[in-house]
């Protein structure tokens, strides 16, 4: 038995797993909407990448870090053969254009910018299930002249939702698929502009699955959109559009390779479990963001127009997560102590060998017991009945809830205004200019979703209570309501608002002469932000010299203001017909995001250190061409970003505290090549090739700032200290990020495909190759006071310092090397970042368009992805923010690293896998 287990455990460690076929998460044909659901999870995932204290995330948070990075920023620019293709082709691998976060893509609706001011991103779930209403779109790359605004580094788009632009007629769509949802129905209509000057358009749809293709998930979403427009005379039109997609959906969580191996599936979902024999998911998202936009179009004359908008959005986003009181056992089924590899270090062959395990049979006894636990489905999922039982037992003695389900709310109220002037001066000169303004109030709080059989919960901070005592001021979530008894529906834990105000003045000018064309853009941005605490957290009280406390939690912080702006220039030369050479460059200073601006926003008003304007530099060169039947684009780009601020939050078990880790002064570079080719063999048969090679790197070791919830001031001070082992001086804490890749997107992707059509039949086949997908790196593991610091004790013949650490150790754990002679850093190495195995995916689709009498038509399309059922393609993942060692004296960085833990967090990142074979059948009928 011992040998068998040894072999199997080694197998999980070393191999890519040929697992049983499981079904994938959903992808819709419409690229922009494909990843809306995951995109919408950005809040929880960014907040908690691995919040094992009370979450399943990691997004938790972080368990959904990967999901957070899933970006639908590939805008469909109609005149760019590369951009118009890649979103559709590579969405299955969560491809991000130029590896850029979605915050660098700018999305407009009717000309009104709708990127979220707190997070920077456009939330595509706003338009979820409204495919038929959102097809009217104008795209623009980074520097391209457009009529709606200055877009981000990843480009932008403007969706026209005016009723008069809806396709005239009615349409019913029915879809079946094996993805997040299983069925979809949609009805849309458009009257076109009627004789009375009115136009109406609308859509209503539903997407649902009692159980999605990932076990334990469900999907339940209604979509609606109603647009009306009235023309007043020749020159004026008013348009009102309102839409929303109330959605309730259960989530999938990432897990470790060991858990996938034990469950024999790369689609194992740790988020659900049995309650009374029925499946229940712990992480359920409710999302509804009703939006309305009133647009006034003023056709001033034949050559100029003014479009003005006022928009309102009220976002109600919440996600549930399990919580538990300090002493309760972590309820996650894939909590590391439930995994067999927590019993002994399976990576250490001096332990993981038959002789040693025979000598110590109790190790295998326990290992096998945990293996047995995972052998049943119920055993490897959440045991809801147990949670209820424990709560009821505790309640019988008057105790509060030991387990509960909380609902984390990230609501937003947004008012946005814009006015855009477009002027066609003459054939050689065009002007677009405008203003944008946005006032956003983010509302962040937690409510009690379910007490799981208990009758109450007491609103105290369990971490602070451990450090300071239950009766301490610091233990109170809200000193204004100490020891508040929480019932279902009550707000508890934290409650704060983030106010952001933004205004932009912009202009674009295009000058064309002969075969040359120049486009100049400039913008001036003002942003200010502040926090408003609605609870008086006990840890947000600053001790004064006289022993009294100053509240830094309740009420408003100071405003932080940023004046940014930028300029871009694009030069185009068309030496011959169908040949365009383009060179572009841009410079911008951009305000930091409010979500990264506060050191511990749940608790207090302090801003992070080094909060300043980001610097962006970009350059593009591309050549679009057509030679006979061959057309395409070849391009190269370079982006340099400096002074960025990035924040993650996670549960840190080294000091049992919820921790915010902020990096400031971050520098990154993205550069790469892009290619798109299409060859028309005959008029109805073509082949295409699309490819990209990107590099997306952190290029420095940024400053780090830790803020740990519940820890005493002195302990908080300690965890931010990094001691120079030579001089004993304190150094500025850093993250060894230099050379780390941006994770969870393929940096290399290639496509070869063919399209054929005949008599209204359409066929397409694509083979896609993906490589250089990196795991999201843990900043915590790469803190210079967490990594080992080494000082040379000798020099070699060349006078170079010699260190005791091996190259292999550096690769695995990273190292800070000090030069004893100078007392300075010789080199900082971050632990090597895991690169996933490359792989390919085969997709195909077949469609038929049927023209019916009386102007009616019908179309049927069946598309299938991953026909070879490659279940081993990792789309992303993240390293756990935990250390493999105990610490004798935490954070002093002076050799205090303690003994090794049996479980190796560094070897157990959490992963997401691309969908296995999946299909989407779509039938629509138009009349």
């Amino acid at each position: 038995m011992t040998n068998k287990i040894l072999l199997t455990s080694t197998a999980w460690m070393l191999s890519a797993l040929p697992l049983t076929a499981q079904s994938p998460t959903a992808l819709q044909p419409d690229t922009l909407l494909q990843t809306a659901a995951r995109q919408a999870d950005q809040w929880e995932s960014d907040d908690e990448d691995d919040a094992s204290d009370f979450t399943f995330t990691e997004s938790q948070l972080d368990e959904d870090l990967d999901a957070a990075q899933v970006i639908a920023n590939v805008t469909s620019s109609s005149n760019d053969p590369y951009r118009s293709e890649v979103g559709f082709l590579w969405s299955a691998m969560r491809f991000r254009l130029r590896a850029l976060d979605n915050m660098y893509a700018t999305s407009y609706l009717n000309g009104l910018q709708f990127n979220d001011l707190e997070q920077g991103r456009f939330n595509y779930s706003l338009l979820g299930g409204m495919n038929d209403a959102t097809r009217n779109k104008e795209g623009a790359d980074n520097s391209e002249f457009n009529t709606f605004g200055v877009v981000g580094l990843a480009g932008g788009d403007n969706t026209n939702l005016r009723a008069s632009k809806f396709q005239q007629g009615q349409k019913i769509t029915a879809s079946l698929c094996n993805r997040n949802y299983m069925y979809r129905g949609m009805y849309s209509f458009g009257t076109g502009l009627m004789g009375n000057g009115w136009a109406f358009g609308g859509l209503i749809g539903y997407r649902g699955a009692k159980e999605g293709v990932i076990e334990g998930t469900f999907y339940n979403s209604l979509s609606y959109l109603l647009s009306m427009e009235k023309r007043f005379g020749e020159n004026h039109a008013l348009s009102l559009v309102t839409f929303g997609a109330p959605t309730e959906r259960a989530q999938q969580g990432a897990s470790t390779e060991e858990a996938y191996w034990l469950a024999n599936s790369h689609y194992y979902n740790p988020n659900w479990g049995y309650q009374n024999g029925k499946k229940r998911n712990a992480r359920v998202v409710n999302d509804y963001e009703p939006t309305a936009i009133l647009t006034w179009d003023w056709h001033i004359d034949d050559n100029s127009s003014l479009t003005s908008n006022v928009g309102f959005r009220y976002g109600m986003y919440s996600s549930t997560a399990l919580g538990f009181a300090g002493e309760a056992y972590d309820p996650r089924p894939d909590y590391y102590k439930n995994l067999p590899s927590s019993i002994f270090n399976v990576y250490d062959l001096s332990i993981n060998n038959s002789d040693y395990l025979h000598e110590n049979p109790f190790l295998m006894d326990q290992y096998n017991t945990l293996m047995e636990r995972w052998s049943t489905k119920a055993g490897r999922q959440i045991d809801w009945d147990r949670l209820y039982y424990i709560n009821r037992q505790n309640a019988a003695n008057g105790g509060s809830a030991l387990y509960y389900q909380e609902r984390r709310h990230n609501d937003q109220r947004v008012w946005a205004l814009s006015s855009t002037y477009n002027r066609f001066i003459n054939a050689g000169n065009k002007l677009a200019a405008g203003i944008q303004a946005n006032v956003t109030k983010g509302m962040h709080y937690t409510t009690m979703a379910d007490l799981l059989g208990a009758s109450y919960y007491v609103d105290i901070d369990k971490f602070a209570a451990g450090d300071y005592g239950l009766s301490s001021m610091q233990a109170q979530s809200d000193l204004r309501h100490p020891n508040r008894i929480i019932k279902e529906g009550d707000t508890f834990g934290y409650n704060y608002e983030i106010n952001v105000q933004y205004a932009q003045l912009w202009a674009q000018y295009q000058y064309t002469v002969g075969s040359f064309n120049a486009n100049l853009q400039a913008n001036l941005d003002g942003t200010r932000m502040r926090r408003n605490g609605l609870m008086q957290n006990g840890q947000g009280q600053l001790k004064q010299a006289d022993g009294t406390y100053l509240d830094n939690s309740f009420g408003y912080s100071e405003w932080a203001g940023f004046l940014g702006g930028g300029a871009k220039v694009q030069l185009q030369w068309r030496p011959w017909a169908n040949q365009t050479l383009t060179l572009a460059a841009g410079w911008a200073k951009k305000a930091p995001l409010a979500r990264n601006a506060f050191v511990a926003p749940r608790i207090q008003n302090d801003y992070v250190n080094n909060l300043t304007l980001e610097d962006h530099l970009s350059a593009d060169a591309n050549w679009k061409f057509r030679f006979g039947n061959l057309s395409g684009k070849v391009g190269a780009y370079f982006i340099d970003m400096q002074n960025l601020v990035e924040q993650t939050a996670f549960f840190n078990d080294a000091n049992s505290a919820f921790t915010y880790l902020t990096m400031s002064n971050v520098s990154k570079q993205h550069y790469g090549l892009e290619l798109a080719l299409k060859y028309d063999i005959v008029s109805n048969l073509s082949v295409h090739a699309t490819g990209t090679w990107n590099q997306a790197l952190y290029t420095n070791n940024p400053y780090a700032q830790l803020n740990t919830q519940g820890m005493s001031e002195s302990d908080n001070y300690k965890v931010n200290q990094w001691v120079n082992p030579v001089t004993g001086d304190y150094e500025h804490l850093l993250v060894a990020a230099d050379g780390m890749h941006v994770g969870s997107t393929p940096l290399t992707a290639l496509n070869f495909g063919a399209e054929y059509s005949i008599r209204n039949w359409f066929f397409e086949v694509n083979v896609n190759w993906y490589d250089r997908v990196y795991v999201g790196f843990s900043q915590y593991r790469r803190l210079t006071n967490i990594m080992q610091n080494y000082t040379n004790n000798s020099v070699n013949a060349e006078g170079m310092p010699v260190y005791s650490v091996t190259e292999a150790e550096i690769r695995e754990n990273g190292a800070v090397l000090w030069d004893e002679s100078t007392g300075k850093i010789k080199k900082i190495y971050g632990a090597e970042q895991e690169k996933f195995h490359p792989g390919f995916m085969l997709d195909a689709s077949i469609g038929r368009y049927i023209r019916l009498p009386h102007g009616k038509s019908m179309s049927i399309n069946l598309s299938a992805q991953n026909l070879t059922n490659n279940t081993n393609l990792r789309t992303g993942g993240y390293e756990q923010n935990r250390d493999d060692n105990y610490y004798n004296s935490y954070g002093t960085g002076d050799g205090s690293r303690g003994l090794a833990k049996a479980y190796k967090f560094s070897r157990n990142s959490k992963y997401y896998y691309a969908n296995s074979i999946n299909a989407f059948l779509n039938v629509n009928f138009k009349w």
Partner: protein, 303 residues
């Protein structure tokens, strides 16, 4: 218009909440999940006899790290019976531990032993006053720092082979719950070392572990660095802090408390006599009696 209404109404009906389930019936949970499904025979060894056999010394132990830490693998069908007289409680100061005690009403034989169980929240599962029968076959019995313990071997973070906790799954297969918990039973009453003399014999496992009440003072309360029982700054490698406590008869004992729980934040009074209740152990390293409090209610200041 009517048509539009129906079109609108159907999806609204469809979007009725999916995330809604009835609360589960947990009346059989303990029977099915917290104990073995086979009925165990009556106890065939007393706790005292078990301690005498396996906890006195390391002679013939299955494994012995040193004279303080050893273990015997129980290969015979041995069953003990007793009442859970202490568990980790809401503050977890008795981390991953149950204490089982049996008092023979006819002979007066009174013995208690610790069971290590790998779970930080045992108290709602195995409650005070719960009578249990334990199948020892496959478990280990021995000394952990010479303290009698039933458990399972493990390697500490220092790499030491010690007698540690049993996986909860394993423990559930080895335990049978008998009747309902009765916290008023004799086994749950503290040994009174206020009215009765404190044991003069050190390191005698007849006297420990035990639930006991003592009275004394914290002689260092006015001079220590921090006035609370277990400040982080004084934490030792075992994540705990020892405080000197002087009994009325002059015996010096230690109050050991884990950091980071509510008990650790109890302020030691200067000069006042204090009544303490908890688990009585003997610290072989310091050669002193030791007490671990179970709850903040175990600490009472007597003016």
């Amino acid at each position: 218009m009517k048509k539009l209404f129906y079109i609108l109404a159907v999806p609204v009906l469809l979007t009725a909440c999916y995330d809604s389930l009835d609360d589960p019936d947990t009346s059989k949970f303990a029977d099915e999940e917290l104990q073995a499904q086979d009925t165990f025979p009556a106890a065939n060894i007393s706790i005292k006899a078990l301690k005498d056999l396996y906890c006195q010394s390391n002679t013939n132990a299955t494994y012995s790290r040193n004279s303080s830490n050893w273990e015997f693998l129980i290969e015979d069908s041995l069953y003990i019976e007793g009442v859970i007289c202490a568990n980790d409680g809401q503050f977890g100061n008795l981390y991953q531990s149950l204490f089982v005690r049996s008092i023979d009403s006819s002979t007066g034989e009174d013995a208690c032993i610790q069971i290590g169980v790998k779970n930080p929240c045992l108290y709602p599962l195995y409650k005070i006053g719960q009578r249990i029968r334990l199948d020892l076959r496959g478990l280990y019995v021995g000394g952990y720092s010479q303290s009698p313990k039933i458990g399972f071997p493990y390697f500490t973070s220092s790499g030491n082979h010690n007698l540690g906790p049993i996986l909860l799954e394993t423990f559930a297969q080895h335990v049978q719950l008998i009747g309902d918990p009765d916290p008023t039973c004799a086994e749950c009453q503290d040994v009174d070392y206020i009215s009765n003399p404190f044991p003069t014999q050190s390191r005698n496992i007849d006297y420990y572990p035990a639930i006991a009440t003592v009275k004394g003072i914290f002689p260092e309360a006015d001079s220590v660095k921090q006035a609370i029982l277990a400040p982080d700054d004084l934490e030792d490698a075992g994540y705990g802090v020892n405080r000197e406590f002087k009994l009325a008869n002059g015996t010096m004992m230690q109050i050991r408390t884990s950091t980071g729980n509510e008990i650790s934040n109890i302020v030691m009074p200067q000069g006042d006599t204090v009544q303490l209740s908890g688990i009585l152990l003997f610290d072989t390293y310091e050669s002193k009696w030791q007490m671990n409090l179970r709850d903040t209610a175990d600490f009472k200041i007597l003016k």
